[in-house]
Symmetry: C2
DNA sequence: GTGTTCTAAACTGTATACAGCGCTGTCGAA
DNA sequence: TTCGACAGCGCTGTATACAGTTTAGAACAC
């Protein structure tokens, strides 16, 4: 993290983080000159980074009006959840076929290693990171880099909403719907993968993902309410 | 098509087409100054377009060395075929559920309308475009824009190899493995969709796509051989 | 003839400058 | 009072200029 290399890369990373966390509010117009002074770069590398982010779906670009933050709508989030489901299930299919026993063992070992942290973890951001890591490793078993790249992108774009979701569950303090289910679902998937039981694993994975996507509408509403409160 | 708007958009569209057709050879380094004079723009909008293309997977960017054309490898193509399968099958799942009868009817009507062109078509580029259109419309039934966006991108990135594939089939003049199978497969899928028979449709679609992906290695070899012959 | 080092050209990455467009806010007229 | 036009400002989009780095080529040693 010491030297991020070129300006563009550093700026790009910063802006992407900001976009992920909705530091830019949905639909908000980005002022380039303001960002240049904030990030201490000229407009040239800034705009190069912004263009990348447009291509990745984090921003939009209106001709003659500049760059805007992506909107936040239930439809969009639902679409991304479906996309995630598509990518993960396909990865699972291939992972069960091509992954070596050693690779699967390592995957399960990771789950075991993090197991104790699942409910003892106070920091929801950390918990979410663990969950994403689990799913990325699962996808990684397929050996399909393109698939993983896209999944990473999708995860980043829905991360904010998922975080809101976790906050809500934590707030309800309802363990049966909360973290424990997280863990047990992951366990079930991992076990099925270890047994090379594609169908069981697929069903469990799909249920695990789609479960979250059902409450999208309320979730986005909740997200909005949290977006505009001063932290 | 008259006025492509800003320079960036025009340059971007041109460069993307060139990348799709492998006018840049795999791994080739792009000379920016050469491109500026070729496209009659300065380096600023050129680089913005190039950055977008990097984010979309058409180019790569090496620090201090500039932009390169994406590599062309069997592994990569196979990954993209799998990705395509993931996206299309998921779209199909939802399409069968959410599409109205009218929408499905229109979809089938398109297939019927183009039906006669399938084997009478000499221009393989045109044939390929028809095939892509069919699959995009099929995916469109899901109503999932994000999914369609990604599918479009994947299709563009494998288009060259698919074209080579078609040329090969045409060369063999083997109708049983050629265009007719194309059409009958599409028919089978469309029928299953119309009957809201998800499983049959899924099986047919997956087979239709994976069938092509089996011969990836020879196909990429063939692609290379065609890439460097003067047209 | 082959390998190595040094020099110069070329190219990338970034900053700055400029033109054109859109937006806003005020002033005037109905 | 409200609607519309005009002026001023700000911002985007593009071109150009400059510094640092890489690469290619030539000269020289082995």
């Amino acid at each position: 993290m010491a030297d991020q290399g070129s300006s563009v890369d550093r700026v790009y990373a910063t802006l992407r983080d900001m976009a992920i966390n909705f530091d830019f509010k949905p639909g908000e117009r980005l002022n380039e000159t303001a960002l240049t002074s904030k990030l201490n770069v000229s407009r040239t590398p800034l705009r190069e980074a912004l263009n990348r982010l447009v291509a990745e779906g984090f921003l939009t670009l209106a001709k003659g009006q500049g760059f805007f933050c992506r909107p936040l709508s239930p439809e969009q989030i639902l679409e991304l959840y479906q996309l995630r489901c598509a990518l993960e299930t396909e990865a699972l299919r291939h992972g069960v076929e091509v992954a070596t026993d050693a690779e699967i063992a390592e995957f399960c070992a990771y789950l075991n290693a993090t197991e104790t942290t699942y409910d003892s973890c106070d920091d929801l951001t950390e918990l979410l990171k663990m969950d994403e890591e689990f799913h990325m490793r699962l996808a990684g078993l397929s050996g399909n880099n393109e698939l993983c790249r896209m999944l990473k992108n999708v995860n980043e774009r829905i991360r904010y909403v998922r975080l809101v979701n976790l906050r809500q569950l934590r707030g309800m303090d309802c363990t049966e719907a909360g973290d424990n289910t997280f863990l047990s679902a992951h366990r079930a998937i991992a076990n099925a993968v270890q047994n090379r039981d594609t169908q069981t694993a697929l069903t469990a994975l799909r249920a695990h993902i789609e479960r979250r996507s059902e409450q999208t509408i309320e979730l986005v509403r909740l997200a909005y309410s949290q977006l505009y409160v001063p932290s």
